[in-house]
Protein backbone atom coordinates (compact mmCIF):
# COMPACT_ATOMS: atom_id res chain seq x y z
CA UNK A 1 0.00 0.00 0.00
CA UNK A 2 1.23 3.51 -0.72
CA UNK A 3 2.98 4.99 2.31
CA UNK A 4 1.20 7.96 3.81
CA UNK A 5 -2.18 6.72 2.64
CA UNK A 6 -2.67 3.64 4.81
CA UNK A 7 -4.58 5.37 7.56
CA UNK A 8 -6.52 7.36 4.98
CA UNK A 9 -7.53 4.11 3.34
CA UNK A 10 -8.92 2.68 6.54
CA UNK A 11 -10.70 5.92 7.37
CA UNK A 12 -12.36 5.79 3.96
CA UNK A 13 -13.36 2.16 4.48
CA UNK A 14 -14.78 3.05 7.89
CA UNK A 15 -16.83 5.92 6.44
CA UNK A 16 -18.09 3.67 3.66
CA UNK A 17 -19.04 1.03 6.22
CA UNK A 18 -20.82 3.53 8.46
CA UNK A 19 -22.83 4.94 5.58
CA UNK A 20 -23.61 1.47 4.24
CA UNK A 21 -24.68 0.11 7.63
CA UNK A 22 -27.12 2.92 8.28
CA UNK A 23 -28.50 2.74 4.75
CA UNK A 24 -29.30 -0.95 5.30
CA UNK A 25 -30.87 -0.11 8.66
CA UNK A 26 -32.96 2.60 7.04
CA UNK A 27 -34.27 0.13 4.45
CA UNK A 28 -35.76 -1.80 7.37
CA UNK A 29 -37.55 1.31 8.53
CA UNK A 30 -35.22 2.72 11.18
CA UNK A 31 -35.28 6.33 10.07
CA UNK A 32 -33.49 9.14 11.85
CA UNK A 33 -35.00 12.51 12.63
CA UNK A 34 -33.27 15.37 10.83
CA UNK A 35 -32.73 18.84 12.21
CA UNK A 36 -34.28 21.60 10.12
CA UNK A 37 -32.05 23.13 7.46
CA UNK A 38 -33.34 26.61 6.67
CA UNK A 39 -31.86 26.91 3.19
CA UNK A 40 -33.43 23.66 2.01
CA UNK A 41 -36.77 24.39 3.64
CA UNK A 42 -36.81 27.72 1.82
CA UNK A 43 -36.65 26.08 -1.62
CA UNK A 44 -40.37 25.37 -1.73
CA UNK A 45 -41.14 28.87 -0.51
CA UNK A 46 -38.98 30.23 -3.32
CA UNK A 47 -40.73 28.22 -6.01
CA UNK A 48 -44.07 29.19 -4.47
CA UNK A 49 -43.21 32.83 -4.68
CA UNK A 50 -42.16 32.52 -8.31
CA UNK A 51 -45.48 30.82 -9.05
CA UNK A 52 -47.45 33.59 -7.40
CA UNK A 53 -45.59 36.27 -9.27
CA UNK A 54 -45.71 34.35 -12.54
CA UNK A 55 -41.97 34.74 -12.98
CA UNK A 56 -39.31 32.09 -13.51
CA UNK A 57 -36.97 30.30 -11.12
CA UNK A 58 -33.29 30.64 -11.97
CA UNK A 59 -31.07 27.68 -11.12
CA UNK A 60 -27.29 27.39 -11.34
CA UNK A 61 -25.73 24.00 -10.47
CA UNK A 62 -22.26 25.44 -10.00
CA UNK A 63 -19.41 25.51 -12.48
CA UNK A 64 -17.60 22.22 -11.89
CA UNK A 65 -17.23 19.59 -14.60
CA UNK A 66 -18.58 16.19 -13.61
CA UNK A 67 -15.21 14.53 -14.19
CA UNK A 68 -13.31 16.94 -11.94
CA UNK A 69 -12.34 16.62 -8.30
CA UNK A 70 -15.21 18.99 -7.47
CA UNK A 71 -17.77 16.72 -9.13
CA UNK A 72 -19.41 15.82 -5.82
CA UNK A 73 -20.73 19.36 -5.41
CA UNK A 74 -22.18 19.35 -8.92
CA UNK A 75 -23.87 16.02 -8.31
CA UNK A 76 -25.32 17.27 -5.01
CA UNK A 77 -26.55 20.38 -6.84
CA UNK A 78 -28.22 18.21 -9.46
CA UNK A 79 -30.13 16.36 -6.73
CA UNK A 80 -31.49 19.71 -5.60
CA UNK A 81 -32.23 20.66 -9.21
CA UNK A 82 -34.29 17.51 -9.56
CA UNK A 83 -36.46 18.57 -6.61
CA UNK A 84 -36.82 22.17 -7.82
CA UNK A 85 -37.74 20.99 -11.33
CA UNK A 86 -40.44 18.71 -9.92
CA UNK A 87 -41.95 21.69 -8.16
CA UNK A 88 -41.81 23.99 -11.16
CA UNK A 89 -43.34 21.20 -13.23
CA UNK A 90 -46.16 20.70 -10.75
CA UNK A 91 -47.01 24.40 -10.55
CA UNK A 92 -46.30 25.24 -14.21
CA UNK A 93 -43.67 27.74 -13.14
CA UNK A 94 -40.90 28.83 -15.48
CA UNK A 95 -37.43 27.36 -14.98
CA UNK A 96 -34.11 28.59 -16.33
CA UNK A 97 -31.13 26.39 -15.55
CA UNK A 98 -27.83 28.06 -16.41
CA UNK A 99 -24.93 25.71 -17.04
CA UNK A 100 -21.26 26.62 -17.21
CA UNK A 101 -19.55 23.23 -17.44
CA UNK A 102 -20.07 21.66 -20.87
CA UNK A 103 -20.20 18.10 -19.61
CA UNK A 104 -22.71 18.99 -16.91
CA UNK A 105 -25.00 20.26 -19.66
CA UNK A 106 -26.37 16.95 -20.96
CA UNK A 107 -26.66 15.66 -17.40
CA UNK A 108 -28.66 18.66 -16.22
CA UNK A 109 -30.98 18.32 -19.22
CA UNK A 110 -31.55 14.70 -18.32
CA UNK A 111 -32.29 15.57 -14.70
CA UNK A 112 -34.87 18.24 -15.59
CA UNK A 113 -36.53 16.09 -18.24
CA UNK A 114 -36.88 13.25 -15.78
CA UNK A 115 -38.46 15.53 -13.17
CA UNK A 116 -41.10 16.65 -15.65
CA UNK A 117 -41.79 13.04 -16.60
CA UNK A 118 -42.08 12.04 -12.98
CA UNK A 119 -44.75 14.63 -12.23
CA UNK A 120 -46.61 13.55 -15.35
CA UNK A 121 -45.98 16.68 -17.40
CA UNK A 122 -43.69 15.55 -20.18
CA UNK A 123 -45.30 18.05 -22.56
CA UNK A 124 -44.45 20.96 -20.32
CA UNK A 125 -40.76 20.08 -20.56
CA UNK A 126 -38.77 22.30 -22.87
CA UNK A 127 -35.11 21.44 -23.55
CA UNK A 128 -34.34 25.17 -23.38
CA UNK A 129 -35.05 25.04 -19.66
CA UNK A 130 -31.40 24.04 -19.45
CA UNK A 131 -29.09 26.45 -21.21
CA UNK A 132 -25.36 26.42 -21.62
CA UNK A 133 -23.99 29.97 -21.32
CA UNK A 134 -20.24 29.75 -21.22
CA UNK A 135 -17.39 27.85 -19.67
CA UNK A 136 -15.52 31.16 -19.37
CA UNK A 137 -15.93 32.18 -15.73
CA UNK A 138 -16.93 35.79 -16.19
CA UNK A 139 -18.71 35.39 -19.51
CA UNK A 140 -20.92 33.00 -17.59
CA UNK A 141 -21.23 35.55 -14.79
CA UNK A 142 -22.21 38.35 -17.13
CA UNK A 143 -24.75 36.16 -18.92
CA UNK A 144 -26.33 35.23 -15.59
CA UNK A 145 -26.50 38.88 -14.56
CA UNK A 146 -28.16 39.82 -17.81
CA UNK A 147 -30.67 36.98 -17.79
CA UNK A 148 -31.65 37.41 -14.14
CA UNK A 149 -32.41 41.06 -14.70
CA UNK A 150 -34.08 40.73 -18.09
CA UNK A 151 -36.30 37.83 -17.10
CA UNK A 152 -36.96 39.38 -13.66
CA UNK A 153 -36.48 36.01 -12.01
CA UNK A 154 -38.40 35.62 -8.77
CA UNK A 155 -36.11 33.06 -7.20
CA UNK A 156 -32.45 32.27 -7.73
CA UNK A 157 -30.97 29.00 -6.53
CA UNK A 158 -27.18 28.87 -6.83
CA UNK A 159 -25.72 25.69 -5.42
CA UNK A 160 -22.58 23.73 -6.22
CA UNK A 161 -19.03 24.73 -7.01
CA UNK A 162 -18.39 28.45 -7.42
CA UNK A 163 -15.42 30.74 -7.64
CA UNK A 164 -15.23 34.52 -7.65
CA UNK A 165 -18.43 34.82 -9.67
CA UNK A 166 -20.40 33.90 -6.53
CA UNK A 167 -20.95 37.48 -5.45
CA UNK A 168 -21.78 38.52 -9.01
CA UNK A 169 -24.63 36.00 -9.08
CA UNK A 170 -25.81 36.77 -5.56
CA UNK A 171 -25.98 40.53 -6.12
CA UNK A 172 -27.54 40.01 -9.53
CA UNK A 173 -30.31 38.01 -7.87
CA UNK A 174 -30.74 40.69 -5.26
CA UNK A 175 -31.04 43.42 -7.85
CA UNK A 176 -33.53 41.39 -9.84
CA UNK A 177 -35.59 41.33 -6.64
CA UNK A 178 -35.31 37.56 -6.38
CA UNK A 179 -35.31 35.48 -3.24
CA UNK A 180 -31.85 33.94 -3.25
CA UNK A 181 -30.72 30.55 -1.99
CA UNK A 182 -27.10 29.62 -2.34
CA UNK A 183 -24.85 26.81 -1.27
CA UNK A 184 -21.29 25.70 -1.68
CA UNK A 185 -18.48 23.98 0.14
CA UNK A 186 -15.69 26.20 -1.10
CA UNK A 187 -14.35 28.24 1.78
CA UNK A 188 -13.40 31.31 -0.21
CA UNK A 189 -16.90 31.70 -1.58
CA UNK A 190 -19.25 30.81 1.29
CA UNK A 191 -18.70 34.23 2.93
CA UNK A 192 -19.97 36.10 -0.14
CA UNK A 193 -23.04 33.93 -0.30
CA UNK A 194 -23.68 34.27 3.42
CA UNK A 195 -23.47 38.05 3.21
CA UNK A 196 -25.43 38.59 0.01
CA UNK A 197 -28.08 35.84 -0.08
CA UNK A 198 -31.31 35.25 1.80
CA UNK A 199 -30.38 31.65 2.58
CA UNK A 200 -27.08 29.81 2.32
CA UNK A 201 -26.34 26.13 2.52
CA UNK A 202 -23.00 25.99 4.24
CA UNK A 203 -20.62 23.16 3.42
CA UNK A 204 -22.18 19.79 4.07
CA UNK A 205 -25.71 21.22 4.17
CA UNK A 206 -25.42 21.18 0.39
CA UNK A 207 -24.90 17.41 0.43
CA UNK A 208 -27.85 16.96 2.78
CA UNK A 209 -30.16 18.30 0.05
CA UNK A 210 -30.95 14.97 -1.61
CA UNK A 211 -31.96 13.26 1.62
CA UNK A 212 -33.69 16.23 3.19
CA UNK A 213 -35.87 17.07 0.22
CA UNK A 214 -36.84 13.61 -1.00
CA UNK A 215 -37.11 11.97 2.43
CA UNK A 216 -35.76 8.94 0.61
CA UNK A 217 -35.11 6.39 3.40
CA UNK A 218 -31.80 5.18 1.97
CA UNK A 219 -30.45 8.70 1.74
CA UNK A 220 -31.66 9.50 5.23
CA UNK A 221 -29.78 6.44 6.41
CA UNK A 222 -26.72 7.70 4.58
CA UNK A 223 -27.01 10.96 6.51
CA UNK A 224 -26.98 9.05 9.76
CA UNK A 225 -23.83 7.23 8.67
CA UNK A 226 -22.23 10.56 7.78
CA UNK A 227 -23.05 11.82 11.26
CA UNK A 228 -21.26 8.86 12.80
CA UNK A 229 -18.17 9.67 10.71
CA UNK A 230 -18.35 13.27 11.94
CA UNK A 231 -18.68 12.13 15.52
CA UNK A 232 -15.57 10.00 15.11
CA UNK A 233 -13.78 13.01 13.58
CA UNK A 234 -14.71 15.12 16.59
CA UNK A 235 -13.40 12.44 18.93
CA UNK A 236 -10.16 12.19 16.94
CA UNK A 237 -9.62 15.96 17.07
CA UNK A 238 -10.19 16.04 20.82
CA UNK A 239 -8.12 12.95 21.54
CA UNK A 240 -5.26 14.02 19.27
CA UNK A 241 -5.02 17.45 20.88
CA UNK A 242 -5.12 15.96 24.38
CA UNK A 243 -2.45 13.36 23.58
CA UNK A 244 -0.16 15.96 22.00
CA UNK A 245 -0.61 18.24 24.98
CA UNK A 246 0.65 15.46 27.21
CA UNK A 247 3.55 14.74 24.88
CA UNK A 248 2.17 11.57 23.35
CA UNK A 249 2.58 11.49 19.56
CA UNK A 250 1.05 8.09 18.85
CA UNK A 251 -2.14 9.34 17.18
CA UNK A 252 -0.19 11.88 15.12
CA UNK A 253 2.07 9.06 13.92
CA UNK A 254 -0.93 6.88 13.11
CA UNK A 255 -2.49 9.59 10.94
CA UNK A 256 0.74 9.93 8.98
CA UNK A 257 0.87 6.24 8.09
Amino acid sequence: MTAGRIFTFWFLIFTFAAVYYFMERAKKGNLPGVRPIAGLAALDEAVGRATELGRPVFFVPGRAEINSADAAQTLAALEILSHVAEKTAAYDTGLITAVAAPNTYPVAQEVVRESYLKVGKPDAYDPDMVQFYSSEQFAFGSACLGVMMREKVAAAVMVGFFQAESLLLAEGANQAGAISISGCTRLYQIPFFVVACDYTLIGEELFAGGAYLTKNPIKLGSMQGQDLAKLVSVLFVALGAILETFGNHSLTQLFKK
Binding site: M1, F16, N103, L167, N174, V195, A196, F207, A229
Partner: protein, 205 residues
Protein backbone atom coordinates in the same frame (compact mmCIF):
# COMPACT_ATOMS: atom_id res chain seq x y z
CA UNK B 1 -28.47 -3.07 -20.64
CA UNK B 2 -29.55 0.56 -21.02
CA UNK B 3 -29.27 0.93 -17.27
CA UNK B 4 -26.76 -1.69 -16.15
CA UNK B 5 -24.03 -0.82 -18.62
CA UNK B 6 -23.69 2.83 -17.54
CA UNK B 7 -23.89 1.91 -13.86
CA UNK B 8 -21.23 -0.73 -14.42
CA UNK B 9 -18.93 1.70 -16.20
CA UNK B 10 -19.17 4.24 -13.39
CA UNK B 11 -18.48 1.60 -10.74
CA UNK B 12 -15.54 -0.03 -12.52
CA UNK B 13 -13.87 3.24 -13.49
CA UNK B 14 -14.43 4.74 -10.03
CA UNK B 15 -13.03 1.78 -8.11
CA UNK B 16 -10.08 1.54 -10.50
CA UNK B 17 -9.08 5.10 -9.64
CA UNK B 18 -9.53 4.46 -5.94
CA UNK B 19 -7.49 1.26 -5.86
CA UNK B 20 -4.76 2.97 -7.89
CA UNK B 21 -4.60 5.75 -5.32
CA UNK B 22 -4.06 3.46 -2.36
CA UNK B 23 -1.98 0.66 -3.86
CA UNK B 24 1.16 0.92 -5.91
CA UNK B 25 0.31 -1.16 -8.96
CA UNK B 26 2.11 -0.04 -12.10
CA UNK B 27 -0.47 -1.30 -14.57
CA UNK B 28 -3.28 0.49 -12.77
CA UNK B 29 -1.34 3.74 -12.92
CA UNK B 30 -1.04 3.55 -16.68
CA UNK B 31 -4.70 2.57 -16.96
CA UNK B 32 -5.93 5.51 -14.91
CA UNK B 33 -3.62 7.87 -16.79
CA UNK B 34 -5.10 6.60 -20.04
CA UNK B 35 -8.64 6.95 -18.69
CA UNK B 36 -7.93 10.50 -17.56
CA UNK B 37 -6.95 11.31 -21.16
CA UNK B 38 -10.13 9.65 -22.33
CA UNK B 39 -12.06 11.87 -19.95
CA UNK B 40 -10.45 14.93 -21.54
CA UNK B 41 -11.37 13.75 -25.02
CA UNK B 42 -14.97 12.95 -24.08
CA UNK B 43 -15.29 16.30 -22.27
CA UNK B 44 -14.09 18.04 -25.40
CA UNK B 45 -17.04 16.53 -27.26
CA UNK B 46 -19.30 17.79 -24.47
CA UNK B 47 -17.98 21.28 -25.17
CA UNK B 48 -18.96 20.90 -28.82
CA UNK B 49 -22.41 19.68 -27.75
CA UNK B 50 -22.80 22.66 -25.45
CA UNK B 51 -21.77 25.04 -28.22
CA UNK B 52 -24.29 23.38 -30.52
CA UNK B 53 -26.94 24.01 -27.84
CA UNK B 54 -25.97 27.66 -27.72
CA UNK B 55 -26.25 27.94 -31.51
CA UNK B 56 -29.66 26.27 -31.44
CA UNK B 57 -31.08 28.59 -28.80
CA UNK B 58 -29.86 31.77 -30.45
CA UNK B 59 -30.74 30.77 -34.00
CA UNK B 60 -34.26 30.03 -32.75
CA UNK B 61 -34.41 33.41 -31.05
CA UNK B 62 -33.39 35.07 -34.30
CA UNK B 63 -35.90 33.05 -36.31
CA UNK B 64 -38.74 33.85 -33.92
CA UNK B 65 -37.63 37.42 -33.21
CA UNK B 66 -37.74 36.47 -29.55
CA UNK B 67 -36.17 38.49 -26.71
CA UNK B 68 -33.21 40.67 -27.64
CA UNK B 69 -32.83 38.75 -30.89
CA UNK B 70 -30.60 41.38 -32.52
CA UNK B 71 -28.10 40.62 -29.81
CA UNK B 72 -28.34 36.95 -30.68
CA UNK B 73 -27.19 37.81 -34.19
CA UNK B 74 -24.10 39.47 -32.73
CA UNK B 75 -23.45 36.45 -30.53
CA UNK B 76 -23.70 33.98 -33.40
CA UNK B 77 -21.50 36.11 -35.65
CA UNK B 78 -18.78 36.64 -33.04
CA UNK B 79 -18.78 33.00 -32.06
CA UNK B 80 -18.61 31.78 -35.65
CA UNK B 81 -15.86 34.22 -36.52
CA UNK B 82 -13.79 33.16 -33.53
CA UNK B 83 -14.16 29.48 -34.40
CA UNK B 84 -13.20 30.08 -38.02
CA UNK B 85 -10.14 32.16 -37.00
CA UNK B 86 -9.04 29.59 -34.45
CA UNK B 87 -9.55 26.46 -36.52
CA UNK B 88 -8.59 27.67 -40.00
CA UNK B 89 -6.17 30.53 -39.39
CA UNK B 90 -4.70 29.07 -36.20
CA UNK B 91 -4.34 30.16 -32.63
CA UNK B 92 -1.45 32.48 -33.44
CA UNK B 93 -3.23 34.38 -36.22
CA UNK B 94 -3.77 38.10 -35.73
CA UNK B 95 -7.59 38.08 -35.75
CA UNK B 96 -7.67 35.22 -33.25
CA UNK B 97 -5.24 37.00 -30.96
CA UNK B 98 -7.20 40.22 -31.29
CA UNK B 99 -10.42 38.57 -30.13
CA UNK B 100 -8.71 36.85 -27.24
CA UNK B 101 -6.41 39.65 -26.06
CA UNK B 102 -8.53 42.70 -26.79
CA UNK B 103 -11.99 41.29 -26.18
CA UNK B 104 -11.96 38.17 -24.04
CA UNK B 105 -9.22 39.17 -21.57
CA UNK B 106 -10.31 42.79 -20.91
CA UNK B 107 -13.95 41.72 -20.58
CA UNK B 108 -12.99 39.10 -18.02
CA UNK B 109 -11.04 41.73 -16.12
CA UNK B 110 -13.90 44.22 -16.35
CA UNK B 111 -16.58 41.83 -15.10
CA UNK B 112 -14.21 40.57 -12.40
CA UNK B 113 -13.64 44.13 -11.22
CA UNK B 114 -17.40 44.68 -10.79
CA UNK B 115 -17.02 42.65 -7.63
CA UNK B 116 -15.74 45.54 -5.54
CA UNK B 117 -18.94 47.46 -6.24
CA UNK B 118 -21.00 44.47 -5.24
CA UNK B 119 -18.91 44.02 -2.12
CA UNK B 120 -19.80 47.60 -1.25
CA UNK B 121 -23.53 47.19 -1.72
CA UNK B 122 -23.64 43.76 -0.06
CA UNK B 123 -21.72 45.05 2.95
CA UNK B 124 -23.99 48.08 3.29
CA UNK B 125 -27.08 45.88 3.15
CA UNK B 126 -26.00 42.87 5.20
CA UNK B 127 -23.37 44.00 7.69
CA UNK B 128 -25.89 45.07 10.32
CA UNK B 129 -26.04 44.42 14.02
CA UNK B 130 -29.26 42.39 13.87
CA UNK B 131 -28.36 39.67 16.33
CA UNK B 132 -25.33 37.97 17.83
CA UNK B 133 -24.48 36.00 14.71
CA UNK B 134 -24.83 38.94 12.34
CA UNK B 135 -22.82 40.97 14.84
CA UNK B 136 -19.94 38.49 14.75
CA UNK B 137 -19.97 38.55 10.95
CA UNK B 138 -20.05 42.34 10.95
CA UNK B 139 -17.43 42.73 13.67
CA UNK B 140 -14.82 40.46 12.20
CA UNK B 141 -15.44 41.69 8.67
CA UNK B 142 -15.11 45.27 9.81
CA UNK B 143 -11.91 44.65 11.77
CA UNK B 144 -10.25 42.78 8.93
CA UNK B 145 -11.17 45.53 6.46
CA UNK B 146 -9.62 48.10 8.79
CA UNK B 147 -6.55 45.95 9.25
CA UNK B 148 -6.07 45.43 5.53
CA UNK B 149 -6.70 49.05 4.55
CA UNK B 150 -3.44 50.96 4.31
CA UNK B 151 -5.15 53.75 6.21
CA UNK B 152 -6.15 51.38 9.01
CA UNK B 153 -2.69 51.14 10.47
CA UNK B 154 -2.30 54.90 10.37
CA UNK B 155 -5.33 55.09 12.67
CA UNK B 156 -4.15 52.36 15.01
CA UNK B 157 -1.07 50.18 14.66
CA UNK B 158 -2.88 47.14 16.07
CA UNK B 159 -5.53 46.84 13.35
CA UNK B 160 -3.33 44.76 11.04
CA UNK B 161 -2.39 42.54 13.98
CA UNK B 162 -6.05 41.92 14.81
CA UNK B 163 -6.83 41.23 11.16
CA UNK B 164 -4.02 38.69 10.96
CA UNK B 165 -5.17 37.02 14.16
CA UNK B 166 -8.75 36.71 12.88
CA UNK B 167 -7.54 35.20 9.62
CA UNK B 168 -5.10 32.87 11.29
CA UNK B 169 -7.13 31.41 14.13
CA UNK B 170 -10.93 31.69 14.00
CA UNK B 171 -10.97 31.72 10.20
CA UNK B 172 -8.79 28.65 9.98
CA UNK B 173 -10.75 26.82 12.68
CA UNK B 174 -14.07 27.51 10.99
CA UNK B 175 -12.67 26.48 7.64
CA UNK B 176 -11.33 23.22 8.98
CA UNK B 177 -14.66 22.30 10.47
CA UNK B 178 -16.48 23.10 7.23
CA UNK B 179 -13.95 21.10 5.21
CA UNK B 180 -14.21 18.05 7.43
CA UNK B 181 -18.00 18.05 7.27
CA UNK B 182 -18.10 18.64 3.52
CA UNK B 183 -15.54 15.93 2.83
CA UNK B 184 -17.70 13.38 4.61
CA UNK B 185 -20.65 14.56 2.52
CA UNK B 186 -18.58 14.06 -0.66
CA UNK B 187 -17.55 10.60 0.43
CA UNK B 188 -21.14 9.57 1.05
CA UNK B 189 -22.46 10.88 -2.26
CA UNK B 190 -19.47 9.28 -3.98
CA UNK B 191 -20.21 5.91 -2.44
CA UNK B 192 -23.91 6.12 -3.30
CA UNK B 193 -23.09 6.85 -6.92
CA UNK B 194 -20.42 4.17 -7.23
CA UNK B 195 -22.72 1.45 -5.93
CA UNK B 196 -25.58 2.73 -8.07
CA UNK B 197 -27.96 4.02 -5.39
CA UNK B 198 -27.92 7.60 -6.69
CA UNK B 199 -28.61 7.46 -10.40
CA UNK B 200 -30.58 10.62 -11.06
CA UNK B 201 -27.81 11.87 -13.35
CA UNK B 202 -28.49 9.02 -15.77
CA UNK B 203 -32.14 9.81 -16.29
CA UNK B 204 -34.88 7.22 -16.60
CA UNK B 205 -36.72 5.25 -19.21
Amino acid sequence: MKRELPLGITAVVGFLFLVQYFFKIAILKSMTDELTDWGTIVSAFAALLAAAGLYKIHLEKIARRKGPWEMSIVLVLVMTAFIIFGVFLGQKSAPYLFLSNQVLVPLSAAIFSLLIFYIGSAAFRAFRLRNLEAGLLLGSGFLVMLGRAPIGEVVWKKFPVIADWLMKWPNLAGNRGVLIGASIGSIAIGLRILVGIDRGHLGQD
